[in-house]
Subunit: 430 residues, 2 copies
């Protein structure tokens, strides 16, 4: 059974705080293992990468076989059904259209004393995209990571995706082609992260690495941060559904289970002011679980991490929502926009009863790579600017420099940086 | 003497690669020490913070004395000269004006099939600002970190600044007040980072920590990343000056030394196509060093990390510039805009002979918190969006959902996520 909380009970604050701080992932030894793998890849390059791939993926490769060939990609596409390829293309087009709206503008202006200032955005020169293997190998994630990179103008997008025992997912390769990925390597784990960050003879290094992965991948990304940029450290996925009495309990149950089926450590939470609805949702979850192929995983997630929070007043509960800072927030109330506008911390908001999160996972348009584990308090979903960087620009002529000189030299002097001051005054012919 | 490189010599590529990979900071034991300090602060809160402050800063505090009082801030402001306060206000106003241009826009639109999508920006709820103590305690850094946070709308900006043996810098407190900082604590090091990330009884936790610090601060920030957001891991500062024969060697020398005086591990590089200019700059550096108060530091930086790179052709050298990805780039050529437009990787560009970096450090307007150690390849200087996050929004009605359902359910099915598909079909009454 999921945890049940009620804001009318005395222990509510304590239980809610416990819900917030519950660790859904352990990673004790993981960091040390990741560090060792990175050190070996830095030292031995391709040789270390192939050795780890043999050990962890049961796949023996030579350096020449690390890269997935054009012919293999073509063959993979030919193996996909036309219907699926069309669905992928629908997704690609909608995701691209949404992300094109995010392209940031350059700026330049000259102020009253003649100082020109502004900035210029440019794409990152090369980006690595981590795609998990096995059960979490999702073509939709390829689109969600690669399309914003290409919209940003990244000239070289490199994908790594492990193929345990050689099993490739044709749709993942099709998605890579559709999204414009430039190179694909059949490697994964911390060894793939290390290869992307430091480069090997076969794989040129990138400047930033994005994409979700298991605990080893997350630990490796944290380790190489600084050498390259990284996106957020992804944790298990989560949804919070806010619902009032107008919501359909069966729809809510379906959405809670869609989240729960991802992973036994995924988290689905319902927050409602209607005790009757809460009870109906719990019943519907049990009923729907019975006919779900991934009932085992979804059931464990719901039992171990699911939660039903009963509150007296939905608007009054907004501080709780901001503390949870959910990755996905569905609002199924009479006026979803009103509540939405009051919430500070959420990765993505799905408005109204006809917007299941699954639409956003695939074809809505917005990115499905979103901040997990309460990081929506300080970070955003993946977007075009994550693949760009801003260079600030400044230009003074002699008069503008003269106008700014007194303030600059006084502050430099106060900070004990006389050479700073001199670099200004030397230009004034004083 | 600085390193001298010449792209006409056979060993150039090797020497240039060595210049790129030269570590300017060691941090072996540092990470372990930072981890221990964080663990103690998490366990013991204020008690640990005061104990470390006593040990590292030679300052005995009680929890009540951690926070700098309003009266102390008022007294500090009264101790500053009116001229300095006016210079600070000039800086504040120019920095604010520049950063107001960076406020990002929300977006909402409805497409042809009736899907509404967009995003909304919101300010981070609480931000911690690390300000180094001792020689690196710069009021200008307070402005550069706090102003964009306040422009973003962050309701709670918390500053920590160590005061070794109780020595406060009045101008730092004045800058905090001017910039709108809400709380100031006289603590530093990894213990301050831990207190901001996890909170203590006295210091409420924040959601993001920004600002430069020593190796312990950097290691602590890396450790708490995930619990809170962080800005980049700052390394020693650096400048690259690109100059042709039109440039003034004395001005270049002054700028190289302004960088070098920061820190013995700062780096100043000149890249030019004019061997005569290079020689004159080297001579001018020696001459100007003689009269510099911080000659010892600047001299060591120039000797250990300075470099003069002679190239046959400035435009042809742009790939070298992009590999260096300098924090600060000064372009003193006949047509600086032309070169500027060709460069991908730089934190900030200063155009033309009358724009010394020092103007940008204080009063230009753009932020002086910039990506160091080649991280301009993948990251930007501090800006308003670093204090905000974007929530994506999606809304379907029944018809839009019906239109998107086939593609979404096919992809869900292909990914083996039947509950995802069901969360869509259950709403269609099929």
């Amino acid at each position: 059974m999921p945890i049940r909380l009620d804001d009318k009970e005395a222990c509510f604050e304590q239980d809610f705080a416990a819900l917030l701080s519950a660790k859904r992932e352990v990673s004790e030894e993981v960091d040390r293992v990741a560090a060792d793998i990175i050190a070996e890849v830095r030292a031995d390059g391709d040789k270390a990468v192939t050795a780890f791939t043999s050990r962890f993926d049961g796949l023996d490769l030579t350096p020449e076989r690390l890269r997935v060939s054009e012919a293999e990609i073509e063959a993979a596409i030919a193996a996909c059904s036309p219907e699926l390829l069309a669905a992928l293309e629908t997704a690609r087009e909608r995701i691209e259209t949404y992300h094109l709206r995010q392209k940031p503008a350059d700026s330049w202006s000259t102020d009253a004393i003649g100082v020109g200032s502004g900035w210029r955005w440019s794409a990152i020169e090369a980006v690595g995209l981590y795609v998990p293997g096995g059960t979490a190998s999702y073509p939709s994630s390829v689109l969600m990571n690669a399309i914003p990179a290409k919209v940003a103008g990244v000239p070289r997008v490199v994908m790594v995706a492990p193929t345990p025992r050689g099993e490739t997912n044709p749709l993942v390769l099709a998605a890579a082609r559709l999204a414009g990925v430039d190179e694909v390597y059949r490697i994964g784990g911390a060894q793939a992260v290390a290869a992307l960050a430091y480069g090997t003879k076969t794989i040129a290094p990138v400047a930033k690495i994005v994409g979700p992965g298991n605990a080893y991948v997350a630990a490796a990304k944290r380790r190489v941060f600084g050498q390259v940029g990284i996106d957020m450290i992804a944790g298990p996925s989560e949804v919070l559904v806010i619902a009032d009495s107008t919501a359909n309990p069966n729809w809510i149950a379906a959405d809670l289970l869609a989240q729960a089926e991802h992973d036994a450590s995924a988290q689905s939470i319902l927050l409602t002011d209607d005790a009757g609805l809460a009870a109906e949702v719990e019943k519907a979850v049990i009923a729907q679980l019975a006919t779900l192929p991934r009932a085992e995983i979804a059931g464990r997630s719901w039992k171990d991490f699911g939660a039903v929070i009963l509150v007296s007043d939905l608007e009054g509960a907004i501080p709780l929502v901001d503390r949870l800072a959910p990755e996905h927030l569905e609002i199924m109330t009479a006026d979803p926009e009103r509540l939405s506008g009051m919430i500070r911390n959420a990765g993505a908001i799905f408005l109204g009863g006809h917007t299941p999160e699954a639409i956003g996972d695939y074809v809505g348009g917005p990115n499905h790579v979103l901040p997990t584990a309460r990081s929506a308090r300080f970070s955003s979903g993946l977007g075009v600017v994550d693949f760009m960087k801003r260079t600030s620009l400044l230009k003074c002529g002699p008069d503008a420099l003269r106008a700014l000189a007194p303030a600059a030299t006084q502050l430099a002097e106060a900070e004990g940086l006389q050479a700073h001051g001199r670099s200004v005054t030397i230009r004034l012919n004083l």
